[in-house]
Structures are given as structure tokens and as C-alpha cells.
Assembly symmetry: C2
Homo-oligomer: 410 residues x 2
């Protein structure tokens, strides 16, 4: 029987993937930076806050004046005035004085703490009673305490979240350097594949992989260049591949990376100048017939034709790789959120390959349980019904019912 | 001291939120449907596959002819031909016959199983040896096994993932009915707030919340209508609110929902015709000074002015609510992926409120550990440094170091 050219372990594939150069950085408006990966360390251009601010509604005081204050023996302070929002207060707080202050108000000179309004009470005209002591700095956000000028506030490679956007807004940073979005050419191959808008003639099927893989690329922050399905013809395949390599950052083919007669993908890829094959075959299931190559330094993924295998391989290898291209640390473990759950039934596994088992999450006696979703490898419905998958390591023989597993959520 | 109008528990707030009507559905192209919520049950218009297909490269056979086959005593079958991709095979497989078949090829008449190529060998001109028995249906995806005509393949309310897009493509469904994206008007209020593009004069600060909350709305699938900051002036606030209610599906204010003099939000909201206050104050920390109301049936969130409190409240209540508007089941527990981890240090909590404690995830001896990130409530940098937060229930007194906690990831 024909053999795969270079069967690689997942570790070897990740090592090869980590060698591809990251994309260039570009500048985007702050409000467009959500979920992009920061291209440089961002340092604070100023102190935040610029002056001490109150974190509570209450009274700005000198902490020493509240020493020993209690419900039965409150500290009686003279009101020096009230701090208004939006201005640096002109009043100052002297010994045995207090100034009303709203949350966010800047501390008046002389004050070094704030007593919460809950622990104060009126004490006649121009006075206030304080029922609890405060320490210096209490309920005060000190100058530069949130960010000091020159501090790295967001490190390069961080995926920008709403709080990061907020901090940058607070510092007046309205443009952010982020890694460019990877542009992926997505190409289904196979004589039997027709575009989704066509009615397939008998014996043909609609193109599934272009659409599912395109969605996965978009979910990983990439942009997609969609190609029409390419028949199993080396000339047409080569033409599509050259076109894709000319415009895209990464080429994602599916179908034709197996070892059958019609699988021209390896030959076509290696016929191009500057081609390097990193893996022809990966020791995984599903997904063994996967090609990982480079042409002129550009990454080429040849995914299996099976829609389920193609998506699983894409989630395990392509999603983290698209993160890598965008400056994220390339993690060996599959991307996605994880949940720990008890395995509902035993799973057997072949040694010498890493197995990805689809599972549905259920609650049993209030505890998360992962029930394997069995079904033939070609069944996309098994992936639709599952909530995620678990990874059986390459040397594992299987897992027993009741064992705790980590579910990678879709 | 002034009191909150109607302090509600988180449960009461979720009950009120679940009463708001979902948005209408709209039709989008399949490739634009990623992460949208399905507006109707989608039923399969046809059988997938339309005819039995092979899931392996190998030989289509009659399973009965392989009975007892082994390495020492292989079954010898006559080759009836080869199945080509993209056509319904014209050949048929009779008793003691086999036909070469590629993965995905349609089964020829007469065949009921496929022997993997690995378990076959050449046996002279026109024959093949089979070394293992197969059972009926083995390595075959039966007609309609993935989806049968009339089956509900995607239920209403499901968030569409790449595999769902793939299945719909396979069924020739090129347009999908999804819930409309919620349009959120995002308005910061406060005399001290200046637009992010301005240089704040002494005593003022830049608008953080518009940008962080807008990002959170986008992350939850919503669209944003940004407003300039509104000063603490009831007339201006009312004008902004009326404008927002006229165009948006949900209004998200921040600042001014506390109980200080300058907090006009409650008065302005209740002065509008058809206003209902669901909560003025929520028993949570941070985030107590939150207003949840409706005006003419449209939801109005009044978030705290503190950037940290505003974001935490938005993540706990607004994100799931935006999901609800888009057809998702409204879950009581905060949105986001969860990770279980051991608590690195003890946390104290006040009874009678639900506490959200920011944590950083670390590995200690190979196990995930959640280290509380302490810092003053106004410090956005604590949120930037944290990976997520944990929830201390309303009646909890605290948690001890080493306890297992569930971290809600940002």
C-alpha cells in the first residue's frame, strides 16, 4: 500500500508551525482594536490618575484626625467645603477639618484619606461626625496608582479585551499598533465537490469545507479569500495554489492530501519552487491525512477532505497558528476555552496517535459530565451535537468512565 | 444618608431581564452567520448523504464475503471495477466481488461495506485479497445518516459555530434566519468626563466607559451607537436618553446612578413616560450603584461610573442580556468560559451581597491556581492584569485558600 511521506507527531507539527514568521503590525483606531493582538509593548504616556482621587462618596479628611473614632465616640470635624467633580479643588483640608467629596473627586490639599458617607453623620451647621477611623490612603486612588508614566500597561502579544480598551482610553491612546489579520485562501478540492449554490448532480456533493473552514478562520481573527472548488486535476490545482500564494498569508486546502491515486496535492505542492514539507500525515485521529508545508516561506495547510476531520485538524492546528501569526504565543494545547468534567463512558484509543473525541456536556447530579458522541468520521452532525472534544495523548490506551477530563469547547 | 430606591438581588435582576422581549429575526448569508443566534429551527431539506458513501479508501464489498478472513486465510475477491469520485457508480458488486473505492465515493449497487485499503492486498490480475472481515455498514456512511429530510438539524437559539455553517452548506442552505444584532446606545455621564480625543483640563478625566462598554457590547454580538459624554445636567441627560431610546434597542448609561447630589439618572429615567425601575442598587460588589429600568419596554442599564465596577456589572448582567435579546437562553451565571482552579489565598466577603473577585490564573505544581488580584475598586489596571473573576455567593462569608473555585474568564 502507498505510504504517507513524513508522518509527524503533533509536537513536531507545532515546532514547525512556530517557525513561521509573524505578520507585520498595523495601526487601528482604539474602538476597532477589540480582540486584536497588540503589536508592541504599550507604555503609559502619563500618570493615571494624574492626582489622588476618592473611590467613595464621603468626606476627605486627614486620617490622623479619625484615630479612635467610633459610634459612641465619633470624631467631630469642621466642614471645609465640598469638592466638585471636574475641577481640581481649591479648598484645602486642615487639621480637624473635612470636605464632602463624591466618588471620583480629586482630593483637596491636606486630605490623605476618605471616610465613606455610611460612616458619617451630620453634626449641626458646618460640622460632620465620623464614626470609624480611616488609615492614610484609605478610599483614595493615589496619583499614578493605576498607571505610572513610562510603565508598560499592555505587553506586546496581548489579545485586547474591553478592559484593555478602557485603560488605553483613560490614557488618551486613540490608536493602537496591532498585528495584521492573517488573510487565508480557503480552497476545497475534489471532483465530487460543487459550489454550495449549485444543485449537485447524482454522485456529487456540495462544498462544505470552504464554508466551515472560512468560519473557523474568521473566528480566529483572520480574513478569508474564498475559492471555487477545484477538481482533482494537477494543472487546475497548481493554478489555484499559485493564485492563492500570490495574495494570501496562509493557504488552506482541503481534500486530496491522502494517499489515493487522485491525491495530487503533495505532488503539486512539492513541484512549486521553494516548497518544504513539514508533515505529510500527522499521528492523530481523526485527521491523519494532513499536509503541512511551506512554499517560499508561506504556510500551506492541506486538510483532509472529510468535513469532520478537516474541522478538527483546523481547530487543533490552524486556530493556534493563526494566533501565532497575529503575535499570540503558540500553545501546544488546542485553542479554546476548557471545562473539566467527568467522563460518562470509557473510551478506547490506539497508541501511537493522539485521539480527539467529541463529547456533549451534561449535568449529572449537579456535576459536569462529558458524554462521548460516537458516530462515523464523516458525520458532521456529530460535531454539531457535541459541545467540544477531549484529547487522548499519543501514548494513552484509553480513559475509564468517571475519570476527570478536560473538554476543549468549540 | 440617602438610600437606594430598590436594592435587588442578582436573581431578581435576572428575572426582570428575562422579561424583555427578544429582537426580531432577519435573514443573512450563510457565510455571515458565524456566532449569530439561529432564529428558527432549521430542518433538513434533503437527505445527507443522498446515497451511502465510503468513509475510507479501500474496497466496496458484500460483508458476508469477508466472513472469517484473516492474514493466514484471506478472502479472495474478484475486482468488479473502481468507483470514481463525482459520479454514481455504474458498476455493481456481486457475490465474491469487490470494487476499489476512494473515501467519499458512493457505494456501488450490491456492496454493503468497505474494507480499508490497509487490510487488503493485490492477488494477481483482477483480484484482491482481504485480510479482515467487515460487518454490514462498516466504513459506510448510510443514506441520510448525517441528516434526514425533515429532521431539525439546528435548533432555534443555537449560536452558530463553524460546524453548523458546514452542515448547512452541505444541505444547500445559503441563507439563515438569525436574531437581529442588538443596537446599544453607550453614554458616559459626569461633569468630569471629556472625550478621549480631548486633553482633560485639570480635574477632568477622559471617557473610559464608553470605549470599554462599547467593546464589551461588540464582543457580545451587539452594535454600538457611541454618544459624547453628557455632563451631570438633567436637561442634557434627558435629551441624550430620549435620542438613544429613539434609535437603540438597549441604552447603557454609566455614572450618576449612585445616591449623591449629582446623580440625576434615576430622576431623569423615571420622569420619562412608561418608565419602570427594576432595580436601583444591586446587592453586589463591585457594582452596587446600578440602575436597571425600562422605558416604554426598552431596557435601560445605568452602570456605575467607576470603570471597574461598570465593566464587571456589564459582564455579569449586560453580556448575558444581549445574548437573551439574540435568542440565547438567559443564564443566571455570568457569561464566559470557565476554568476550575485552586484558590491561592483566602478571601473574606460581606454577607448579603454577591462579590466578584478578580483573579490571575497561574500554574503551581502543574495545577491551575487562582490568585486574587487586589487593588482599589477604581483601578482598571487590576482588571487588565486579571484573567477572570470568581463569584462569592450572596450568603457566603468567604473562601479559604486551597478551595476549588470556578473562574469566569474575561
Amino acid at each position: 500500500m502507498p505510504e504517507f511521506f513524513t508522518v509527524a507527531t503533533p509536537e513536531q507539527v507545532f515546532k514547525a508551525l512556530s517557525g513561521f514568521r509573524r505578520l507585520a503590525v498595523e495601526t487601528v483606531a482604539l474602538d476597532d482594536a477589540l480582540h486584536r493582538f497588540c503589536g508592541t509593548d504599550i507604555t503609559s504616556p502619563e500618570d493615571l490618575p494624574p492626582l489622588p482621587r476618592s473611590t467613595m462618596d464621603g468626606y476627605a479628611v486627614r486620617a490622623a484626625d479619625t484615630f479612635g473614632a467610633s459610634d459612641s465616640l465619633p470624631a467631630l470635624l469642621d466642614l471645609a467645603g465640598a469638592v466638585a467633580m471636574g475641577r481640581v479643588p481649591e479648598i484645602s483640608v486642615g487639621p480637624n477639618q473635612a470636605a464632602a467629596i463624591p466618588t471620583g473627586g480629586f482630593l483637596p490639599r491636606g486630605a490623605d484619606a476618605v471616610v465613606m458617607v455610611e460612616y458619617s453623620g451630620p453634626a449641626g451647621e458646618g460640622s460632620v461626625e465620623i464614626f470609624r477611623p480611616v488609615t492614610t490612603g484609605e478610599n483614595v486612588l493615589g496619583k499614578a496608582e493605576d498607571a505610572a508614566r513610562g510603565d508598560v500597561v499592555i505587553p506586546a502579544g496581548k489579545r485586547l479585551l474591553p478592559q484593555d480598551i478602557g485603560l488605553l482610553a483613560g490614557l488618551g491612546i486613540t490608536e493602537v499598533s496591532v498585528y495584521r489579520r492573517p488573510r487565508a485562501a480557503v480552497i476545497s478540492t475534489g471532483d465530487e465537490i460543487v459550489p454550495v449554490t449549485d444543485t449537485p448532480s447524482p454522485g456529487r456533493i456540495r462544498d462544505i469545507n470552504s464554508h466551515s473552514i472560512a468560519a473557523l478562520v474568521r473566528a480566529a481573527g483572520g480574513e478569508v479569500e474564498m475559492f471555487d472548488p477545484v477538481p482533482d486535476d494537477p494543472v487546475l490545482l497548481r493554478a489555484a495554489l499559485e493564485k492563492a500564494l500570490a495574495s494570501a498569508d496562509v493557504v488552506v486546502l482541503s481534500g486530496g492530501s491522502s494517499v489515493g491515486e487522485r491525491d495530487h496535492m503533495l505532488n503539486v505542492v512539492t513541484s512549486l519552487s521553494g516548497a518544504v514539507v513539514h508533515a505529510h500525515g500527522i499521528a492523530i485521529s481523526p485527521g491523519k491525512p494532513t499536509l503541512i508545508a511551506a512554499v517560499g516561506g508561506k504556510p500551506v495547510f492541506g486538510l483532509p477532505g472529510h468535513p469532520v476531520s478537516a474541522l478538527v485538524v483546523a481547530q487543533v492546528f490552524l486556530t493556534p497558528f493563526l494566533g501565532h501569526l497575529q503575535g499570540e504565543e503558540l500553545k501546544r494545547t488546542p485553542a479554546g476555552a476548557r471545562v473539566r468534567a467527568a467522563l460518562a463512558s470509557s473510551i478506547h484509543s490506539a497508541q501511537g496517535r493522539e485521539d480527539y473525541v467529541r463529547v456533549k456536556l451534561e449535568e449529572r447530579q449537579g456535576l459536569p459530565t462529558a458524554r462521548p458522541v460516537f458516530g462515523k468520521s464523516g458525520m458532521l452532525s456529530t460535531l454539531v451535537k457535541a459541545d467540544g472534544f477531549i484529547v487522548l495523548p499519543i501514548h494513552a490506551e484509553g480513559l475509564s468512565a468517571g475519570e476527570t477530563v478536560e473538554v476543549i469547547l468549540f
